[in-house]
């Protein structure tokens, strides 16, 4: 049984290092912001676009790694949540063209959707949860066909956007927006995860019964985890809508949700740095696959080579780790007694 961390009075030195430790996420994020800004001035436009895409992915991978890595809930439906955010932004922009309120609205709407799914998901475990979220991923895109007056079915919607201020190139502007969102997400998550919420998440993941006995509200924690990760997915989707200036069901297929899972597993489950690695993989691997496909001159290879490669890496990674998913979780546990 895991033991709840005891409350002890800390020495002055310990208090000081705690205060410094609490600043680390802020420092990292600030450093990250500086690095991104510098990069955007030095990189060519296409690379800036890729950088922006990494930022957009980082929002959702960060949220998903908290949900799946720290809380143990496997969601196969986060692509659909991204679609929710993206479509909300698109519809808003086409009416009002105010980007920041639009993004906020997209996050709010997706948070509500996440709460709904989370309420159902909190009672499910393992393959049942996976099946439910898989169904969400497969079914939700078809809503665009059912309500085709609003969503315009398969053709999707274009997203109205103001051009960037001054003489800033579009791609640079996109990178700034996406990374503003990504760094904010990482900062918020780092603080959430470093505190009581993070402990509760891990406690519920490792041993539900023990967590309950220690006073952790299991269902509440799981729903909150879903809600938080949904908010991140909504932000990510909105940012993708900004990046591609259009939304369509084809942009959020089932394979997107599977890619997200792959990204956080390979990157390192449960760690925010792992989320970053996953986001980079999600951009770099398809790009590499595309150059191979172009050299081979085959149209069929495009996209599908990336799919196959992702799948192979995922299977190999899962089989190679002796403990499966568990060995990829970074855990700080008090020594436990095996009964």
């Amino acid at each position: 049984m895991t033991i709840v961390e005891p409350v002890t009075t800390k020495t002055k030195n310990q208090q000081k290092s705690l205060r410094i430790a609490k600043l680390v996420p802020l420092l990292v994020v600030t450093a990250g912001a500086i690095i991104v800004v510098v990069l955007t001035y030095t990189l060519p436009p296409f690379r800036n676009y890729q950088l922006a895409t990494i930022g957009a992915y980082l929002c959702v991978t960060a949220g998903l790694t908290v949900l799946t890595g720290l809380n143990g809930q496997l969601s196969l439906g986060h692509g659909a949540l991204m679609a929710t955010g993206a479509y909300t932004l698109a519809i808003w922009q086409n009416k009002f063209d105010l980007l920041l309120p639009g993004i906020v609205l997209a996050v709010l709407v997706t948070t509500v959707a996440g709460a709904v799914i989370g309420l159902a998901a909190a009672r499910l475990r393992g393959p049942y949860l996976a099946g439910l979220t898989l169904a969400v991923a497969v079914v939700v895109p078809s809503i665009t066909s059912t309500f085709d007056r609003t969503f315009n079915s398969d053709q999707g919607l274009s997203v109205a956007l103001e051009p960037p201020p001054g003489t800033i190139p579009v791609e640079q502007w996109q990178a700034w927006i996406c990374w503003a969102g990504a760094l904010l997400t990482v900062l918020v998550l780092a603080y959430l995860v470093g505190g009581r919420f993070g402990r509760d998440l891990r406690a519920v993941r490792d041993d539900e019964t023990a967590a309950k006995l220690a006073g952790v509200g299991v269902a509440r924690t799981q729903i909150m985890a879903f809600v938080v990760s949904a908010a991140c997915a909504g932000l990510s989707g909105a940012l993708f809508a900004v990046l591609s200036q259009s939304v369509s069901p084809g942009a959020f297929p089932l394979s997107l949700s599977l890619f997200l899972v792959m990204a956080i597993v390979i990157g390192g489950l449960g760690r925010l740095t792992g989320a970053l690695i996953g986001a980079v993989l999600l951009v770099v691997l398809p790009s590499a696959a595309q150059s191979i496909a172009e050299k081979a001159g085959s149209q069929h290879l495009e996209g599908n080579l990336a799919l196959t490669f992702f799948g192979v890496v995922l299977v190999l990674v899962m089989l190679a780790a002796p403990g499966g998913l568990a060995s990829w979780k970074a855990r700080r546990k008090l020594p436990t007694q095996k009964g």
Binding site: G72, L74, L76, A120, R123, L124, R125, G126, P127, Y128, A130, G131, L132, L134, A135, V136, V138, V139, S142, I143, S145, T146, P253, L254, S255, L258, F259, V261, M262, V265, S298, Q299, H300, L301, G303, N304, L305, A306, L307, T308, F309, F310, G311, V312, V313, L314, V315, M318, L319, A321, P322, G323, G324, L325, A326
Partner: protein, 292 residues
């Protein structure tokens, strides 16, 4: 009333396919305690193989046999080469590995065949013929009923009357004890996967002519519907899988017929939520200890 009857038979025909696919999922669940999330992709792969052979040789039936045989082989290979090595400490490991397989299979199929919808014609007419003045069933529907019925009968006979079936059941219920009695538990597991995949391939071949065409993602919705059916019936219950499949088929037919075809997937999702929250063990499922 005519429409209702027509939809009922249409629903039963689809439902039969869901029943078969759900049986495949239940078989593997009972044998290995894994939900085979790759079952849809595996069925698509064998359907592609089947239709390629059919196109090349002009014989649908040869393609049909190839697809089912391919399922046997693919199921055995997946179990031996991949699933056997999955760490059993968490059920999520099997799910994630299966998803990796889905990516691989869909990617490879896309590379070989492309992502356009390929025509997949049915071996029998899909026009409904009249019974008592009402257009109810097509010859294809009869074929579906016959095929699924045959599968159910054969599987029942296998499991209840044959030594192999007894070995398979024992290996699933009590692997250690079965080993002590000389049952090759590993081999029985492989056989279970092979049979399940073959049934899944059969279901896939039956469903493809009713869809827009063959496509790497063509069976995603079939998987969801069959998963819902299996959960509705109880993951442990083959009888439940058949009943669940028929119920889901009927539901989709009525919803699609009266509310519009695009609403049908939503109905599956809602049904799944209702079952998972209301009666997670399903209609026929019971959790109980396996040896004493």
């Amino acid at each position: 009333m005519d429409r209702f009857l027509y939809l009922t038979f249409d629903g039963l025909s689809r439902g039969a396919v869901y029943s078969a696919f759900a049986l495949a999922l239940v078989l593997i669940w009972r044998a290995a305690r894994i939900v085979n999330f790759a079952q849809g992709a595996m069925a698509v792969a064998t359907a592609y193989a089947g239709y390629s052979v059919a196109d090349a040789t002009g014989s649908y039936w040869l393609g049909f046999v190839v697809a089912i045989t391919g399922g046997l082989v693919l199921g055995a290979v997946v179990e031996r080469v991949v699933m056997r090595f999955v760490d059993r400490s968490s059920p999520l490991n099997g799910v994630v590995v299966a998803l990796g397989l889905v990516l691989i299979i869909q990617g490879v199929l896309g590379m070989i065949y492309g992502n356009e919808y390929r025509p997949a014609p049915a071996p029998f007419s899909r026009d409904a013929f009249e019974i008592g003045g009402v257009a109810l069933l097509s010859r294809y529907d009869l074929f579906v009923f016959a095929a699924v019925g045959a599968v159910v009968v054969l599987l029942t006979l296998l499991f209840t009357r044959t030594s192999t079936g007894l070995r398979m059941r024992a290996a699933a219920f009590a692997p250690d004890v079965s080993r002590l009695l000389g049952v090759p538990v590993g081999g029985m597991l492989t056989l279970g996967w092979a049979l399940a995949a073959a049934v899944g391939s059969l279901a896939g071949m039956l469903v493809v002519p009713t869809e827009l065409g063959l496509h790497p993602n063509a069976m995603d919705l079939l998987f969801i519907s069959a998963f819902t059916a299996a959960v509705l019936g109880g993951l442990d219950s083959p009888v439940g899988a058949v009943a669940g499949g028929l119920l889901v088929g009927l539901l989709l037919a009525y919803v699609g017929g009266y509310l519009g075809a695009t609403v049908a997937p939503m109905a599956v999702l809602i049904l799944l939520v209702v079952v998972l929250l209301g009666r997670p063990d399903g209609l026929f499922g019971k959790a109980k200890a396996r040896t004493a």
